[in-house]
Symmetry: C2
Amino acid sequence: MTFSNQRLNNAIKKLTGLPGIGPRQATRLAYFLARQDNQRTLELSQSISQLTSASICSNCFFIHENDFGPDGLCEICSDPARQSNLIAIIEKETDLISLEKTNQFNGHYLILGDLKKNGILEDEQRRRIEHLKKNINQNLNSQAQEIILAINPTSFGDFSASLLSKELAPFATKITRLGRGIPTGGEIEFADEDTLSAALQNRN
Amino acid sequence: MTFSNQRLNNAIKKLTGLPGIGPRQATRLAYFLARQDNQRTLELSQSISQLTSASICSNCFFIHENDFGPDGLCEICSDPARQSNLIAIIEKETDLISLEKTNQFNGHYLILGDLKKNGILEDEQRRRIEHLKKNINQNLNSQAQEIILAINPTSFGDFSASLLSKELAPFATKITRLGRGIPTGGEIEFADEDTLSAALQNRN
């Protein structure tokens, strides 16, 4: 039996392919939303439609709601107390939030979006890197103090980082990546060889 | 730094707690939806709000859009070709869809919703079981031919099934559960003891 469930199927189709949501979870979600209290489903729908009014920072490309900042800048980029010649290149907004939570970083960001595994930048990513170069040339006297490639330390991430590192070398005094080692709370016994090697090299 | 991202935080709050979505994925989703093409985000929002018009079958409690059926019945319950004295009790709509895909079941369903691990039925689940009993008494001459407890073969599922089995014993000639054994494509070597024991008992 096929069901003539046009609205359910439409919602399943729209939910499938969102980050981390496959067809099975999309189906579960759609039935859950159809089943639960209508008011709550409408509130979800509304909260999603309101996201379309969020802005994207013209400098770091962070999604934000700082509607009153100059030139569409986010709170970080429009904060004069932050160091503009220290720039962390990250993939996702959630990475920015994680880094901000440490309270250890007082620079600016550049959000690139998820990097492809083949190391090739998409058009939009290319545009953002060019924006960064232009920004460094115009506002930082052609040289940032440091660019941190805060990209995941996976083999694909390492590959992308090495390409970016070469490309951006002329634009920063120093190009770094996040330190590697045993995570806090982790056990030496269970650390893989690469992590342990890195922990040895980074001992302090 | 805390962000004054009221709309993003609102969406994150509403997304968190949906089936299979934790706070981290909710954050990723909200930023993704804020970032992507506005039209697509609005389409998702709309497809979700339209789910509120789905109906719930007054007999089996399946979510459906069969708006023209008699008495708010779903397509399965209003299909005279289906056997009404063979009833599968299931937890989720997606279980129904999976069973329908086999084309091996021509009976009716009763959707209970996710069972609690302590085996105690929630008020709504209790109401549905009472509805089933009343239906059997009124329309099936007090005795269904068979009730299949199509509940997951986990230890919690087994517990709930044994309680339901006792309660429903007077209402069906036969109470069964789905067969257990090695899944198609599975390997004997990797089957756990319980599965292998069941496979031995169910050999054919």
